[in-house]
Amino acid sequence: MTAILKNRLFWPAAILVVLLVVNMFTSNQFVTVRDGHLFGTFIDILRGSAPLVLVALGMTLVIATGGIDLSVGSVMAISGAVACLLISDLGNQNSVGSVLLIIGIAILVSLVLGLWNGALVAVIGIQPIIATLILMVAGRGIAQLITDGQIINVQSGPYATIASGFFLALPVAFLIAAAAVALITLLTRRTALGLLLESVGGSPTASRLAGIGARRITIMVYVVSGGFAGLAGLIYSANIKSADSISAGNLIELDAILAVVIGGTALIGGRFSIAGTVLGAILIQTLGVTVVAVGVPAKATLLFKAIVVVALCLSQSPTFRQKVFGRFKPRPAVRAEVPA
């Protein structure tokens, strides 16, 4: 019991459960089956959180190396803009082959943008926050140039599927995010990659002296972050069947960083938790849905969210927990269950 309570993810998980229970009561259908697939508030949450999960996943890796990627929102905008522009030029927008090719192109563009960030940080040696700030600011301009400042609409069934479609009764967007999470978990926890990331985050110099290609690892995480942001941008734009270069991914970098922090990844690098990040991202999405479902007035939503986030961060702080909960704990019991 104490071990569970002491887990860093206990409180975020508890708050998530509370929010989900609230939603169970406020929604007509929490989870039901309709038209051969799952449907309901819970499914909306899973589907809606996919872009944030993807972005936060990339952000986790970047932060693990002690960096930060502020450009994710702009990369989302660019990738959505590229895809919608190309699809709107298609003769047959419902051609699965062409749409897949275009999705590939958009992701390739995002990877290149990530490479640019990585090169600025690892090769030229600009501080990550500044290096990615460049693309954060310029990228949205590029996206607006691509769309000519307008909202580009597409009427492509296959493209819409990646956000609104269902496969094996589950939302495609959720499956994409889940696959990405599984892939990254496998790569970082079943190979030495995770260790290398943490060592670069801990000390790039020491890592290099120990024979780790710190530069290559750093470039790689920015490329991965760019790729995931691009994928998130595709889901975002497919969701509304249009490229909105002004609002796509606007301020998502902050939500992603918050998700990473809620998940217990240290902002200074050297330690990360994929499961924590996913939990954080879903928590943020659930919070957004709950605010609407409960009927919190628009003017009070930010305050409501702030209170939950503050409570979360306090629950994550060892000092705070010690002060508040420490005195209630029967000491012998603790000693008995956690042998020194």
Binding site: T41, I151, I240, S247, N250, V292, A293, A298, K299
Partner: protein, 329 residues
């Protein structure tokens, strides 16, 4: 439109075109000397190019200046107040006949407006107001009345359910919290629907004037509120996002849930003509011709009404079908 300042600022920071040098400046300063020829020179400082609405606004002003025979000095502030202030100072030095501008923000204009007044140049505000206490600093303010737009939306709804006694559940998608159009469109609508006590707003939440947010919020509305009869969205984009959510929930937008929006941009009008939206209140960016009339009167020294409303209308599904081919924005 006057959506979100941060977006405007961002787009301002990055737009690639040159800084706010007012086009074709110094060489024809002579024509600005109102004594010389009878061609009026109008200096106009635009907010930026943050949306399709704004682009249409710019185009309308440029085209109607050309057809009204007014010499237009156009300057794009790219979402920054300091650009706009320096553009206005430039206009003053060039001795233009009239200055018009859409203020990026509401406050901080007193000093530069005083300079214009001292130089004897009349100033016209377009589309957005300033909060100066001294209203003599500008001649007039031309723009939409957001409260009126909300009222028009509410009036249509009241008329639609006239004589019926069933309860009408309305959900509202508000614009960016705290922005003037969001506050006023909510206010006007609420006033208008008081006429029918059966109509109640059951849920109201911000969708930030964005399609994606409109969709997400509508999804949750659909899950948490049984029997939604009407959706009132503060702009077309949120309404379009909500249509996606309504369709995904297996309902028919426009039939199962009636939809009212504000703006009447092309995408919204298309949905209206397709029967997915029921009613759109126009918020027109095409105030160019009216502005040119006002500029001529101001240059001639006439006293203008302090508040001029943009000529705007409303669209039903039938009207949308005829109007749609002419929509430019």
């Amino acid at each position: 439109m006057r959506r979100n300042i941060s977006a405007a600022v961002l787009s301002g920071v990055l737009a690639v075109s040159a800084l706010a040098g007012c086009g074709g400046g110094g060489d024809d300063a002579g024509s600005g000397n109102s004594g010389g020829d009878d061609k009026i020179t109008l200096g106009f400082s635009q907010v930026g190019a943050e949306s399709g609405w704004r682009t249409a606004n710019t185009k309308s002003i440029q085209e109607s200046a050309a057809s009204a025979g007014i010499d237009l000095k156009f300057s794009d502030a790219q979402g920054k107040q300091e650009n706009q202030i320096s553009a206005i100072r430039n206009f003053i030095t060039q001795k233009v006949d009239v200055i018009a501008f859409s203020p990026v923000v509401t406050s901080g204009w007193d000093a530069v407006l005083k300079e214009a007044k001292d130089a004897g140049i009349p100033v016209i505000l377009t589309d957005r107001a300033v909060d100066s206490q001294d209203t003599s600093l500008y001649e007039t303010f031309i723009g939409s009345d957001f409260v009126e737009e909300g009222k028009k939306a509410g009036d249509w709804l009241v008329k639609e359910y006239e004589g019926k006694t069933d309860k009408v559940n309305v959900v509202e998608l508000q614009g960016t919290t705290g922005s003037a159009p969001a506050i006023d469109r909510q206010k006007g609508f609420a006033e208008a629907i008081k006429a029918n006590p059966n109509i109640t707003i059951v849920k109201s939440q911000t969708g930030d004037f964005k399609r994606a947010d409109g969709k997400t919020v509508m999804e949750t509305f659909l899950q948490s509120t049984p029997d939604i009869d009407v959706l009132y969205a503060h702009n077309d984009d949120m309404g379009l996002g909500a249509i996606e959510a309504i369709e995904a929930a297996g309902k028919k937008p426009g039939t199962d849930i009636k939809i009212i929006t504000v703006d009447a941009v092309k995408d919204g009008m298309t949905a209206l003509a397709d029967g997915k939206i029921n009613f759109i209140v126009e918020c027109s960016p095409l105030l160019g011709p009216q502005l040119m009339d006002l500029a001529k009167k101001a240059a001639a020294g006439e006293t203008l009404e302090k508040r001029v409303l943009t000529e705007e209308t409303t669209f039903t599904q039938e009207q949308a079908k005829t109007e749609l081919p002419n929509r430019k924005y």
